[in-house]
Symmetry: D2
Subunit: 161 residues, 4 copies
């Protein structure tokens, strides 16, 4: 488990007085910096090799601007051939107030295809792998095919109307 | 299906030249305004009655700042006793480039409990209900209990270390 | 004057119930899209030629999420050799609730230098030039030199301490 | 001078590969947390007493996502009866890459009026006052009156057209 601390900004709050639901995945993104660096030691945009395929967030408790410091816990919960899962928890006063994560694909932007995770990086991911992390992602593998069929149907309907 | 148009901002882009993954759920939030208004005709913070419990996003294709206009399609895909699912698609050149949605709970902030959706609003939700929407949310109902147990274990471990 | 409409999002609000001060310049950025397009007809990142040098914002009244629609007025208030000023007002119920603007430089990113505004684009800027716009920017021309001197002093102090 | 460290997020970048111009004032806002706390020890929204009247930003150099850590320097540059100026610099590799600041008003939200800064807080502001800070704000005091006159003229023109 990686630990990271974030500090809510006034602008993270919304009219209910809570931290807005989209500020939390932005904190999680900041907590992913060390993992991104395993793949991109110099964070070089020209050779960037990761793509985010899915985001999942569950909001369990409230976070307030007044909660001056929030701890982010990070785990790897799945390591596939070219993709892996990063899971995060926002931990405040002994509770997870938000949990979520992302499916990341190791990607070759030039040839537009997923590529195998190199062994050296796989070893780093395995080091932070935790089967008992408090969150598991629920990917929707058939989604891509389904949406293509539906989009075609919508286009056809629009042409006929 | 509700249709809504959004216009990417320069700042929505990231270093890969794509619209950043957190700008899209922010567009979806804007597209939810009419649904929020069914529950809160004057958008009054003092009587606000909705809480966001879960967010799910799948990124299928790339959106660029240059894609000056993106159409957002919105459906209701589940209507429970106090909660419901809103699902959105970002539709660009005949394809869904991103799909996602939120679980919303009709909530009484004073008494801190979920409350039944009033019949009049339920009728509006049903009007936009679509069984064949291109996305379905995958809630994790046992999550809340599990995280409480895990948080307690972490606290116990920290005390002992 | 260019007119443009924006629609506040729930997440634009902050804990005081107002639209957060950084959401408004983001709306202004969206309203600048047509001007950016004069310089970059296809919004192509590879040939992008504009750089933002200064931002100024004055907050006069409150905007709320409940103000479902805000009109943005845009003017050109200065046209220099390579730089120009874009000024915006957020206009709500017959009042300017926020005013501000940016200094933009026509820039050659390859050779890292400001370049003259082409005559065709200058003509478009002049068309929207308004001497009587409700806002004027107050650039700080000596700033760049001053900050370099100060930064050097800080570094020297740090070495000696 | 207050020192604070921020860590760029992937989403802070834009299509030019730079940190977007609106991410930097958001970092500055985070760096203001300790000053906000002088006025609001518990960050309580119900008794919040500060309002932001003006924002000014000058962009001097580029910041990249790859610049993993940016130091924010903060100074008080003006202490009035009810208002004061907070000035910030983003300091990277011995240079100020961005400078800016805000005019903040000590404000009574119930009675809708500016109120005198209490002596105890004034002493804290004075402790961080620096006449030689690398930035000075340029308020536009006549703006409020001017914009009211202009807004009336626009309304009159719209009625007549």
């Amino acid at each position: 488990m990686l630990k990271y601390k974030v500090y809510p900004r006034f602008g993270d709050s919304d009219l209910l007085g809570h931290v807005h639901h989209l500020s939390i995945p932005s904190w999680f993104e900041e907590a992913r910096n060390p993992i991104f660096q395993w793949f991109n030691p110099k964070y070089d945009p020209d050779t960037w090799n990761l793509i985010l395929a899915r985001l999942e967030m569950d909001y369990i408790g409230q976070i307030h601007y007044a909660d001056q410091e929030v701890e982010i816990h990070t785990w790897i919960t799945h390591i596939g051939n070219s993709s892996f899962h990063i899971v995060h928890g926002a931990y405040l006063r002994g509770e997870y107030v938000a949990l979520g994560g992302v499916v990341i694909v190791h990607y070759d932007f030039k040839n537009k295809r997923a590529v195998k995770i190199p062994e050296k990086i796989r070893a780093l991911l395995e080091e932070h792998y935790d089967q008992n992390a408090p969150y598991r992602l629920t990917p929707q593998p058939e989604l891509h095919e389904k949406t293509k069929i539906l989009a075609k149907r919508i286009m056809a309907e629009e042409k006929n109307s």
